[in-house]
């Protein structure tokens, strides 16, 4: 029988990490995601699976502990919320530059600055455009439920290791804090040190006589080599765009208008679709699950079928730029968003749709 539990989104992430066979978690408290570290500490994963959990002195230290662990071929992760994720950007760009796999959870709160502790979706640019310096991308997954918080832990590790690239779960304070029913998976075994050594020959596991030393670095001063390395990274991101796009569609078959929304906003938009259809307005919803790679192709297809798109995001309008780029001016695209921790109501979104497009 399947194990069901009532959990907070943040707790689901923590339990999923233990069950996925993660080797290490390094974190630092910040609202609204501190439950991740608290849950892990209470669960004693060291006893359950041998997983290491450590509270670092700062977000910067935590992400660099992740760097060290990831360089060893271990399955490691960190979590934080917006201001803390800004601090982690230094480490994240080094991890991307050194081509290391890891998972980073951002339970987004409103900004800029200290902003608020309430949910927001205003870190979209930071998540999908790189975030730190240099040309790099993260694999970005956007859960819309506590179940997806749980499921995306394993998925993000899988993708991170497949591409040797950091993966981010871009959640928000609402999904982190809300409680929902979660189906818990089986306990996966952690890899042994020997298995890590065999599976990840690039990792710093100790230089044996039969191989060259392994060097984990993002430094290359030769301009030609550095350019080639950048091209290699871009080829990797292109491959992700071809193979890893994930999205969900709701009532798009006959849709004349389309909501585009992820995470918490997509949940509200689901209800807005129902309300609009009761009024006779044929609306559908496209919910990007991967924010990078973004469902560009599907949006372009839908641009030929609908009369307008409303991009809904709890921000002043970030994802809307990618929607506009994707549809190549074939259809009007408008943004609607609330800020400061305010979550728009389903009726409010329908009203905006009516005002702007009907």
């Amino acid at each position: 029988m399947k194990e069901l539990r009532l959990m907070k989104g943040n707790e689901a992430i923590a339990e999923a990490a233990i069950r996925a066979g993660a080797d290490g978690y390094f974190g630092y408290p910040i609202t609204p995601q501190s439950e991740v570290l608290e849950y892990l500490m209470a669960e004693k994963p060291e006893e359950r699976t041998g997983m290491v959990v450590l509270q670092a002195e700062s977000e910067i230290a935590a992400i660099n502990m992740v760097y060290g662990g990831a360089g060893c071929g271990k399955k490691v992760m960190t979590s934080s919320s917006s201001p803390g994720i800004s601090l982690k950007q230094e480490g994240i760009t080094y991890i991307a530059g050194a081509e290391l796999p890891c998972m980073i959870l951002n339970v987004v709160r409103g900004g800029p600055g200290l902003g608020t502790i309430q949910p927001a979706q205003s870190d979209y640019f930071q998540a999908v455009k790189g975030g730190g310096h240099g040309d790099y991308k993260l694999i970005v997954l956007a859960p819309a439920s506590v179940q997806e918080m749980y499921d995306f832990v394993e998925l993000s590790f899988e993708l991170a290791f497949k591409y040797r690239n950091p993966a981010m779960i871009l959640s928000d304070g609402a999904i982190g804090q809300m409680m929902e029913k979660v189906e818990i998976g089986e306990q996966k075994k952690r890899l042994t040190d020997q298995e890590v050594k065999e599976k990840y020959p690039w990792a710093t596991t100790g230089k044996d006589a039969n191989r060259e030393r392994n060097i984990i670095t993002s430094l290359e001063l030769d301009p030609v080599k550095q350019e080639q390395f950048n091209l290699k990274l871009q080829a990797k991101y292109k491959e992700m765009e071809e193979k890893e796009v994930r999205f969900e569609e709701i009532q798009t078959e006959d849709a004349e208008y389309l909501f585009v929304a992820y995470g918490t906003s997509s949940r509200i938009c689901e209800k807005s679709v129902q309300l609009a259809r009761k009024k006779g307005i044929k609306v559908g919803l496209l919910r990007p699950i991967t924010l990078f790679p973004f469902p560009k192709k599907r949006l372009l297809e839908l641009a030929g079928k609908v009369k307008g798109m409303l991009s809904v995001e709890m921000s002043t309008g970030q994802m809307v730029e990618d929607v506009k780029l994707a549809v190549e001016h074939k259809v009007p695209v408008i943004h609607y968003g609330r800020m400061g921790g305010i979550i728009p109501s389903p009726a409010e979104i329908v009203e905006v749709l009516e005002q702007k497009f009907l």
Binding site: L54, T204, R213
Partner: protein, 259 residues
């Protein structure tokens, strides 16, 4: 063959008195002639070789002059962001608790931008070895003032000498970490004379041996010269170091394990 001047009679094992350490690669060192980094690198690798722990050792390189330490040390290594080496080492050691993990850092890296990582890894008592090269200057970026630049010492950002009132005090971070319960062995060494080299090597050996005990950080400061940054000849820089650096940074053990 007239060109061949090698006397094969001499090349015998019993006549061998000195050779390149096996665990130093053949890459040409980028360090300025006269700099202490090469010697310090060699000592670390000699210890790894003598303890026969190459396959069990993971090093972390810093940002600064020794950013390319991994080009010379023939062990698995990770390159950290500026100052973050002890955080990387923490991650590595926590996940590979039986490996020998060391960081190799300069003064700007360890005592300025990485102060938090240094203090907290030392305070947590991570079972790692920290090799700290203190030459009182930012060498890589062209000779700027470092946290360890002594009073009156000239650098490109203290061109009239370090003015304590304006620029603050030089930081004795080694004495500071010695106060923390997580450090097990703290010592200050140098590599400017054969005798100093022998003492430094002994200290490094002890620091690596200590990792087996799992009793905390072994922290080795090596006060060194930067003849280019100090704008002196190598010999003058070593003499200047003896006359000016050693009185402020006295050599010797600062914290030794209780018997």
């Amino acid at each position: 063959m007239a060109e061949n001047t090698v006397n094969n009679d001499i090349i015998k094992e019993e006549n061998l008195v000195y050779q390149k350490t096996k665990l130093m690669t053949d890459n040409v060192l980028h360090y300025c002639p006269g700099c202490g980094h090469g010697t310090a690198h060699r000592l670390v690798m000699e210890v790894v070789e003598e303890m026969d722990i190459q396959s069990e050792t993971i090093g972390v390189a810093p940002v600064g002059c020794s950013v390319f330490a991994y080009n010379y040390m023939d062990v698995d290594m990770q390159e950290a962001a500026h100052g973050r080496a002890p955080a990387l080492a923490t991650g590595i050691k926590r996940l590979f608790p039986d490996k020998f993990v060391f960081t190799y850092q300069g003064d700007g890296d360890l005592a300025a931008i990485g102060t938090a990582e240094t203090i907290h890894s030392c305070n947590r008592g991570e079972n790692i070895t920290i090799i700290f090269i203190n030459n009182g200057i930012y060498g890589m970026t062209g000779g700027q003032m470092a946290p360890t630049t002594i009073e009156g010492m000239k650098s490109s950002t203290s061109p009239y000498g370090r003015d304590i009132k304006l620029m603050g005090n030089p930081l004795k971070i080694t004495e500071l970490v010695a106060q923390l319960p997580g450090t097990y062995y703290v010592t200050r060494q140098a590599v400017h004379t054969p005798a100093a080299v022998r003492r430094a090597k002994k200290a490094i050996r002890k620091a690596f041996e200590n990792q087996k005990l799992k009793k905390g950080v072994s922290f080795i400061e090596i006060v060194s010269n930067c003849n280019s940054g100090w704008k002196m000849t190598p010999n003058d820089s070593n003499q200047w170091m003896v006359d000016n650096m050693f009185p402020f940074y006295p050599l010797g053990d600062i914290k030794v394990p209780e018997k």
